[in-house]
Symmetry: C2
Subunit: 263 residues, 2 copies
């Protein structure tokens, strides 16, 4: 009985990101999901790009209620994107939200970037905690990026999920949107993660005292010829959707080791 | 011709961790692999537990040559465990090592912890870069932990890998060692990652000015009844070995979405 009453309640949508609560991308995402449920924002108080699945151990965390455009309930958090999800559930919502959306990230999170991305780690954290989730990223790093196509597709996908189609409690989607005018985007493609990565080279410099220091830099390279990958889809002006899992077991290799290891 | 000459060269073994270069665990791991190849240590200059797959963006990185017990070539790095691997390849070794080992971590990295662990993220980074790798973790958080069983099994596993059995360039193993006396350990089990995780609760406190702050805390819970998991193996006094992959695509869900989505 209690359950059926709950079903009719407005869904709760938790919004977070890794670019920080003041980033235009998170405002675009809130815009996208507005009206589809009760929206609560809990996002880092500063940029947290490249934080991966970091959590804060050995340091305290702060939460601060903040103003957010459109009168949306919002909190900034001193921790990582993953901390934001954990704190939101335990200390703000006091329940699991019905959906967690993360982004819209300023920059691509396709291929191997899913592993480094704070945006996607927040989404994956939600999925681990049995909260269906989606991370959205636009292939444009600039602060003035045009989020109109991202907003449109984010709304479409969230609507679809809230209607209950294919909604698994551990569902986690990595959605990337091409940096193209909306009318040029051909639609959505369900993809696998490409084996494509940055080939790093560190930029070596000397400080005024003569001591060396390094900047991470690199060039993106696609080693994957597949036409079913996120990189291919984006290159061909599709929105890419990769379902993501947190069971990292390599079952193929597991079988091989069971047969071949002499230990 | 050049290739066959290279084969006869001593293998290069890169050693890193997330507890920092002064942790007893990394000394135990260096002890374990000593004599099996040319050993080079590149590890964080401070503890980096829970850093996941974080990389340093927007901040410079430093490398410092340091003394390490047993006259081993060693460098401390101001960045994350993943930064250590990237910097080691580009700026210290100037080549890919033949193997990367990470740990021995002070504390468990079984089940979902593989995702939060800096130790395992360093190993996974190596695998992404086509360097076979193993992360080792001992189920004892204390600084005075007894690493003798860990050292024995780490050496066994590394020897096996260097002999070329099942050596894949993207191989990444997550090895956990029970906190039991060596004679009670029953051997090695190849496992899958358990669905087991910390159920978080934040400890809410007030600072001297009355403002709230939070500490992450939680209780470990195993939701997985399987007898083929790492958690099961460790509970039954086996060393657990989980082969880990960096393709996070959920292929089962991908198929389901391709059939069911109306977008």
């Amino acid at each position: 009985m209690a359950k059926s009453v709950k079903k009719k309640e407005e869904p709760v949508i938790l919004v977070t990101n890794d670019d920080g609560i003041t980033a235009p991308g998170i405002q675009a995402l809130v815009e996208a999901v507005k009206g589809l449920g009760k929206v609560v924002v809990v996002a880092p108080d500063k940029p947290q790009s490249g934080m991966g699945h970091a959590i804060t151990i050995g340091q305290l965390l702060r939460l601060q209620k903040v103003n957010f455009p459109g009168d949306v309930e919002a909190y900034s958090c001193s921790g990582t994107p993953v901390d934001c999800v954990k704190l939101a559930v335990d200390k703000i919502l006091h329940r699991k939200p019905d959906l967690c959306v993360s982004g819209v990230n300023h920059g691509a999170n396709h291929s191997i970037n899913v592993i480094y991305s704070g945006t996607m780690s927040a989404a994956l954290e939600a999925a681990i905690e049995s909260i269906p989730s989606v991370g959205f990223s636009l292939l444009d790093y600039s602060i003035e990026a045009d989020f109109s196509a991202a907003t449109k597709y984010a709304r479409l996908i969230v609507q679809q999920l809230l209607e209950g189609r294919s909604l698994d409690k551990h569902l986690c989607l990595n959605v990337n949107i091409p940096a193209s005018p909306e009318k040029l985007i051909k639609g959505i493609k369900i993809c696998r993660q490409a084996y494509a990565k940055y080939e790093e080279e560190f930029d070596e410099r000397k400080d005024p005292t003569g001591k060396k220091y390094y900047w991470l830099t690199g060039e993106f390279q696609n080693f994957d010829k597949g036409r079913d990958t996120d990189v291919w889809a984006l290159k061909n002006n599709y929105v890419s959707v990769v379902p993501v899992q947190f069971d990292l077991t390599n079952y193929e290799l597991k079988e091989k080791l069971e047969k071949n290891w002499k230990l």
